[in-house]
């Protein structure tokens, strides 16, 4: 789960990590009303769940209140990577002497939360990681001991030569780790962490993601969830036991199992088509689930053909076929559907499906080829 920069900053502040004052506004009116006219340099930032806001024009400096309002007017409603900007954050700008990077992330290789830090912070940090990986300090944190004081201090001393600055940075790193653990985060970044000409250390931009698996025990984090229309569709699907991600193609697919669903998409592409979605219906033969999956799938107006790809394991194909028949009996659509059944009792299942008159096949390859062929003819 993602949250906005302003929400991450609120968490930072709650944990004692110093962030400049800021106001969040949903409209130009709110900006006019709520942003203080205090003559301080300000930065207006789009709040969307997308990277590259700066390059897209979603981050602007403002010297006067009038400039703040004008910038907010430009940014609000802007489209960044397909997302509409509905909020801006107006924050006090800070003078920057030097920018640093600090991040925490779950690392599958070391099976630990890993601290990363660099004296080369800012927007180009990924480039630094690629070109000069030696400039990124990495530290795998012992999950039972947590981040020890001496470790935070040692890392901070590599970034900041001066001890008081290093201790300030070490304290921030320790707090970020505590926040990370307390909230079941999967990513926490301060980029940039800034040293001002006055030798103060501030967290300027923050980013946090959270482990979806742990949201059941993180009610405060869950409250922060804001979702776009597409994400809402994915969440609704999830609540029905379906895993759905909308894509840009025209061949809808419905598959049991995530790996098989990804492979189904690959097959469609391999044979010249474009998948319209990822959709994993899990291991059940329940007709209700098939109907719900079909409804979600067909709500995408780009879909011109559907490929149903089922491999029977513990669930037998004949049971799955019965579920499909029940479901397809209730779904009225002009869109052509091809069904592939394989695995346990596939023969019996395919036999049962004959009654539906739907084209049935035995392999994924055939299914993909057939679906592509049908999609070209269908012109829905």
């Amino acid at each position: 789960m993602k949250i906005h920069e302003y929400q991450a900053r609120n968490l930072f502040r709650k944990y004692g990590i110093p962030v400049p004052d800021a106001v969040v506004c949903h409209s130009v009116e709110e900006v006019e009303k709520n942003v203080p006219d205090d003559g301080k340099l300000k930065v207006v930032k789009a709040q969307v769940h997308a990277g590259g806001r700066g390059k897209a024009g979603g981050v602007k400096l403002a010297r006067t209140k009038a400039e703040v309002v004008e910038n907010a007017r430009q940014i609000l409603g802007m489209d960044i990577k397909g997302l509409t900007v509905e909020k801006v954050m107006v924050a006090d700008a800070v003078n920057i002497e030097k920018e640093f990077y600090v991040g925490l992330v779950n690392d599958r290789n070391s099976k630990s939360v890993t601290l990363m830090a660099s004296a080369e912070g800012g927007v180009e940090i990924e480039e630094v990681a690629k070109v000069s990986p030696e400039k990124i300090i990495k530290l795998a944190i012992d999950p039972l001991l947590g981040l020890m004081d001496f470790q935070a201090r040692a890392v901070a001393l590599q970034l900041f030569g001066e001890i008081m600055q290093a201790l300030a940075a070490a304290a921030i790193i320790k707090k970020l780790y505590k926040l990370y653990i307390d909230t079941d985060a999967s990513l926490a970044e301060i980029n940039p962490l800034v040293l001002t000409p006055e030798k103060e250390v501030w967290a300027i931009d923050g980013k946090m993601n959270f482990d979806d698996n742990a949201l059941f025990r993180q009610p405060e984090i869950l409250k922060m969830r804001e979702v776009s229309a597409n994400e809402q569709k994915e969440i609704d699907a999830n609540e029905k036991g379906l895993s759905y991600i909308k894509l840009d193609g025209n061949i809808g697919c419905m598959v049991n199992g995530a790996g098989l669903a990804m492979t189904t998409m690959d097959m469609i592409k391999l044979y010249g088509g474009e998948p319209a979605n990822f959709l994993d219906i899990g291991g059940s033969s329940n007709p209700k689930k098939v109907i719900e999956a079909m409804e979600i799938l067909l709500s995408d107006k780009n879909v011109t053909a559907v490929m149903i790809n089922i491999f029977g394991g513990i669930t037998r194909c004949d049971d799955v076929a019965r579920g499909l028949i029940a479901a397809l009996g209730q779904i009225k659509t002009e869109i052509p559907i091809v069904v592939r059944l394989s695995g346990t009792n596939a023969k019996e299942g395919l036999e049962l499906l004959k009654s539906t008159g739907l084209p049935t096949v035995n392999t994924m390859r055939e299914a993909a080829q057939k679906a592509i062929e049908l999609s070209k003819k269908s012109k829905v």
Binding site: V105, D184, M262, T263, G343, T344
Partner: protein
């Protein structure tokens, strides 16, 4: 021979009284797995289908000399169940439960290491040594004894591949579903090494996915350490990259994670990568000179 499990594997089921636990216990027993105990706190002393139930894993191990455990308990309690099994000295713990918080698995990992427990999963279908022992939720009927080892990050896709192997006369020594979670137990490296050392395994099928750099590491290991042929398939070649984890995710797996990079690394290790699952049996036969 085989890896990890065989006919001497004595299994405990943690969460045997739950719906999934009960159903798959029956299925595993039908397959022939030696299930020696179930654990369900407060239900110690009872029996289910002739399987004795204990309050704790410690008691179960003491009474039955069990050496493996499979976990079906709900996600919020899965980490504690793993710790219980590991601290009771169980050598192999297979966690089927999905939705386990990542930080729970991170916390459990060093404890398992300290106790000498091998973990598989969470969020995995389990593993099977055909004809000897099945642990998890795999459909036993599609497997066949043979000389191919298989390691997979995916569930149903594994069945798909195994089904084709079996139909093509390519039986299996052991098939391991390692699960798709961000942090998990045994992974490609450890399992490739086990297959390399297993005299009955002649070739290995590796089924990877986009994300992380486990396949790249596997390729490096194969290039440097393996004498046996490996054939691979990578799922998600066309999946959108939008779902990645910001800067930190990119930094931690710098230059890794996409299907192209994985496939490139595997080719460099002389591992043929199937374009679609149907190609796998053919690639294997070619490597084995069949």
């Amino acid at each position: 021979m085989s890896i990890l499990i065989n006919k001497d594997t004595k299994l405990i089921v943690q969460g045997i009284t739950g719906r999934d636990g009960g159903f798959h216990t029956m299925k595993m027993k039908e397959y022939g797995t030696s299930i020696v105990a179930g654990v369900s706190p407060g239900k110690g002393g009872r029996e289910i289908d002739g399987i004795p139930i204990f309050n704790t894993v410690e008691q179960a191990v003491k009474e039955t000399a069990a050496n493996a455990s499979v976990i079906f308990v709900p996600a919020p309690f899965a980490a504690d169940a793993i710790l219980e099994a590991s601290c009771a000295g169980v050598g192999l713990v297979v966690t089927i439960t999905e939705g386990v918080p990542v930080l729970d698995i991170i916390k459990v990992s060093p404890v398992a290491k300290r106790n000498g427990t091998k973990l598989i999963g969470p969020n995995c279908p389990g593993l099977i040594t055909p004809g000897e022992s099945l642990i998890g939720i795999l459909p036993g009927n599609i497997f066949k004894k043979g000389n191919i080892g298989l390691i997979s990050r995916s569930g149903t896709l594994t069945y798909e591949v195994v089904n084709m192997l079996t139909k093509n006369g390519l039986g299996q020594t052991t098939c391991v579903g390692i699960g798709g979670d961000p942090v998990a137990g045994l992974y490609f490296l450890e399992l490739l090494e086990m297959f390399e050392n297993d005299p009955d395994t002649d070739a290995v099928v590796l089924i990877g996915e986009i994300g992380g750099d486990a396949e790249e590491q596997a390729a490096k290991f194969i290039k440097e350490k393996m004498t046996k042929p490996v054939v691979a398939f990578i799922a998600g070649q066309t999946a959108p990259t939008g779902k990645r984890m910001g800067h930190a995710g990119a930094i931690i797996s710098s230059g890794s994670g996409t299907a192209e990079e994985k496939i490139k690394a595997l080719y460099q290790a002389n591992v043929p990568v199937a374009k679609e699952p149907l190609e796998i049996p053919g690639l294997l036969k070619k490597k084995l000179g069949l």
